[in-house]
């Protein structure tokens, strides 16, 4: 009997095939969403109807043209033009002028820059899901962390960057964590559902930020605009291409990757992570096993809020440099999509964040060139969530087999139950 045919080998083979199949559903969800997005683009393009007036063939041709222009500009905006990169690189080598090459990298760096806060926010929601908590409040935690991080960023003077940057990041983490711990505490102590409390805290944080930054407010710049002062140079995150001010790709991306590794380590290699997952799977069992369920709930929400806070720190210390009053990001809801798409796994979240980063960067180029409204990304994201959350739809569409039930994150269980 060869080794392949032993039961152990079979089980292993099945497991690895199962892993691939686990990737198949999200992939098909993305493809299906892109196809439906193309349908939306085509149906809302009047030139297509004009072309069909000329003849059926012309109409079909126009459809292909519209989709290729839209998604073509989309991909160019998200990943750039390889030919131009090669040309820029050869100019750099031959003449020593690297600016062309740097400019050709712009789309790619934009994708990574957009992906960075997504990774943080996605990790925040994914960690919550693992702990059986639904953190809809990433947006509010982002706002509060924005306030704390920008305050440390502009008020602290005369400190070197290697102290200032960590302090400003820490301020963001603590601001987000505190804001996240409130619904965690309320859930642990009173059973109040975190979804409602995080939504309420979102609106409270918007108003609070509005008050702080409003003209004449405690944190306003004082030049008649509702924005905070600019952060000190020592608080800025290191930029990789300081020669080109358009490129705002910074060290924050790698901090985000580190955060993903940290969350992975925390969840799957530590006792705390084991407790978080156990409470998420079955709080009652966790309680009988002697775990401190209320403490774990508060801790999970605080960690989640801290991660969401880092998204704000990145945006302020690495990209904008100050906090505007109209700081709405939409990360709160996008993060839910990211966590779902990444199956609440830290590395899955990184992959889905890269995808969403590409969606953002690409959609902006698509709006500029193909005149397709930016809001298409929301449609795509909504569809992706629906298909991921209801894999039965995708399986029915493509006649896929039902996979074996694996360990996933428990989502929510109605209001007010712990």
């Amino acid at each position: 009997m060869s080794e392949k045919n032993t039961t152990q080998g079979k089980a292993q083979k099945r497991r690895s095939r199962g892993r691939w199949r686990a990737l198949l559903t999200p992939l098909m969800a993305i493809v299906t969403a892109l196809i439906l997005g193309a349908v939306v683009i085509v149906v809302t393009d009047t030139s297509v109807y004009d072309a069909f007036g000329e003849g059926f063939g012309a109409g079909l041709l126009r459809i292909v043209e519209v989709v290729v222009t839209a998604y073509g500009s989309f991909f160019a905006g998200a990943f750039g033009d390889p030919a131009r990169m090669v040309r820029g690189l050869s100019t750099w080598i031959t003449t020593g002028d690297g600016s062309d090459w740097v400019q050709s990298l712009y789309p790619l760096t934009e994708t990574l820059r957009y992906a960075t806060p997504y990774i943080f926010a996605g990790l925040a929601v994914a960690l919550g899901f693992r702990g059986g908590l639904f953190n809809i409040g990433a947006e509010g935690q982002y706002f509060i962390a924005g306030l704390t991080t920008v305050f440390v960023g502009y008020s602290l003077t005369g400190v070197p960057w290697f102290i200032h940057v960590p302090l400003a990041l820490l301020a963001g983490i603590l601001g987000g964590a505190a804001w996240g711990a409130i619904p965690g505490y309320l859930k642990a102590k009173t059973g109040a559902h975190e979804v409602i409390n995080t939504i309420m805290l979102n609106y409270i944080s918007f108003r609070l930020a509005e008050y702080m930054l409003d003209v004449g407010g405690p944190m306003a710049r004082g030049d008649g605009r509702p924005v905070s002062p600019v952060i000190q140079p020592s608080a800025q995150l290191t930029q990789f291409f300081p020669s080109n001010p358009n490129i705002r790709f910074n060290v924050g991306f790698f901090i985000a990757l580190l955060a993903a590794v940290f969350v992975y380590w925390l969840l799957f290699k530590t006792t705390i992570g084991y407790e978080i997952r156990t409470v998420g799977q079955n709080p009652r069992a966790a309680k009988y096993a002697g775990m401190n369920v209320p403490r774990t709930v508060v801790l999970t929400m605080a960690l989640s809020g801290g991660l969401a806070g880092l998204a704000a720190s990145h945006d302020i210390l690495g990209v904008i440099g100050f906090m505007p009053n109209s700081f709405s990001s939409g990360y709160g809801f996008d993060a839910i999509a990211l966590a779902l798409l990444g199956n609440s796994h830290p590395f899955g979240v990184v992959l889905s964040s890269l995808l969403f980063g590409a969606l953002q960067a690409g959609a902006r180029n698509m709006q500029a060139i193909a005149r397709v409204p930016l809001d298409l990304t929301d449609i795509l994201q909504g569809l992706i969530i629906i298909f991921i959350a209801a894999p039965a739809i995708i399986r029915a569409l493509y006649r896929l087999r039902t996979p074996d039930e694996g360990e996933g994150a428990v989502m929510t269980r109605g209001w007010g139950q712990l």
Partner: protein, 414 residues
């Protein structure tokens, strides 16, 4: 024995709370006033059919003392003897506090109470409709967090169809259909595919934001004729509209406002006094038992969720067809979520939802009034109040908020 002492301690706590309110009135409002200041509460509106009743002018300090004395009396009585209906008395004390605040804010000035009540009701309309939508869904155990998206869809559809047909009623009907369609999407996801209902609702929110913004920037912004819907006209009810205060506030409104009030009453009666309501509540509390007794759980949920979507769509249409007469991206501005809060605050009952929405609407209208009176309180803190109150209610400080027992759980037929 133990139970008894717990009760007395609770009663004593409320007495202290009432006294704290009285103390707050003294500390917060009295120091800023002088003996010669007068406050005027006006009750007549311009361009109103109501019979004029004039206005009420009184000494600011006198009014404040009166309200403080009232609160002190209620607190002392609560400590000494205890009221049976503690929450009712709490309402009275809070009302006294609000009146004291208004008395202070309008010192040496005049505030139109009728106008403020009118604004309160109008601002409460979309919130109430959102809350009603939530009640419809959650009473049969489907969590609807997608109300915001459903409202947005309704608003967009009513603007587009209303502009095309130049008929408010067709626009309203279109919004109902669009909201119902979104409700059906939620129902299919939650009931047929057993998707986590909060995620399903979130998907609806994102999808609706995307679709309405996309079509808005594709069509409505480039072709202004597509974003010029007509608006509902005011329909003063004969005789009733001439009653002072009540007439302008309740009986001089547009059709959707009356519709909202009727819906609140009808759904309340239906839910608690008809066979349909009993079935709905049974499905929400114990679907297995309801199924055993022959209630079709799936059908009940489908019907309720689609109706809930239609009501949310009506809320969106109200935003467009009542006064603004145009669709703007994200114009619901979180009203769907506030409605959700109002539903919880109102303990999953239609009348409770209306009452909670009125409180939220009051906070909103107060903000505009205080801006006119130049009261030096940042309006943002007033706007925070409803959310804080919701969190306090949810934490069980003011009675427990008990959702339907099976809320959020998909039903699997045995």
């Amino acid at each position: 024995m133990n139970e008894n002492s717990k009760d007395t301690r609770r009663a004593r706590t409320w007495g202290i709370v009432f006294l704290v309110f009285a103390a707050l009135m003294l500390v917060l409002f009295l120091p800023g006033t002088t003996g010669s200041q007068r406050t005027t509460f006006a009750f007549d509106l311009e361009l109103s059919e109501a019979l004029p009743i004039g206005s009420l002018t009184f000494s600011t300090q006198g009014g404040l003392y009166l309200l403080v004395v009232l609160a002190v009396f209620l607190g002392a009585w609560q400590l000494a003897k205890g009221f049976k209906q503690v929450y009712l008395i709490l309402g009275v004390v809070v009302l006294a506090f609000v009146l004291a605040f208004l008395t202070w804010a309008a010192r040496d000035n005049s505030m139109n109470m009728t106008g403020m009540l009118q604004a309160t009701l109008l601002r409460a309309v979309p919130i109430t409709l959102a809350a009603l939508s939530g009640v419809m869904c959650e009473r049969c155990a489907v969590i609807n967090i997608g109300i915001e998206g459903m409202m947005l869809t309704g608003a967009f559809t009513s603007a587009l169809i209303g502009s095309l047909t130049q008929n408010v009623w067709v626009g309203l009907f279109a919004a109902l259909s669009a909201g119902g369609l979104m409700g059906a999407l939620l129902a299919v996801m939650a009931i047929r595919y057993k998707v986590d209902q909060i995620i399903a609702g979130t998907a609806i929110n994102i999808l609706a934001t995307g679709l309405t913004s996309y079509f808005s920037s594709r069509y409505l912004q480039s072709i202004p004729e597509l974003n010029r819907p007509p608006t509902f006209v005011q329909l003063p009810l004969p005789v009733l509209s001439r009653i002072p205060i009540v007439g302008p506030v309740l009986f001089t409104n547009t059709a959707p406002v009356y519709l909202m009030l009727i819906l609140v009453a009808v759904i309340h009666v239906m839910l608690f006094y008809t066979r349909w309501g009993l079935r709905t509540r049974a499905v929400g509390e114990h679907p297995q038992a309801a199924d055993t007794l022959g209630v079709n759980v799936f059908k009940t949920r489908y019907v309720n969720v689609i109706l809930g979507g239609m009501i949310a769509g009506l809320g969106g249409a109200y935003l467009v067809l009542s006064s603004v007469a145009r669709f703007d991206e994200n114009m619901t501005a979180g009203r769907g979520f506030i409605g959700l809060a109002a539903m919880i605050f109102g303990k999953w009952s239609p009348i409770g939802a209306l009452a909670a929405s009125l409180i939220f609407g009051f906070a909103d209208s107060l903000r505009t009034n205080l801006a006119i009176l130049r009261v030096p309180i940042p309006s943002q803190f007033l706007l925070m109040a409803p959310y804080l109150v919701t969190m306090i209610v949810l934490a069980g400080v003011v009675g427990r908020a008990n959702p339907p027992a099976a809320d959020g759980q998909p039903y699997e037929k045995q």
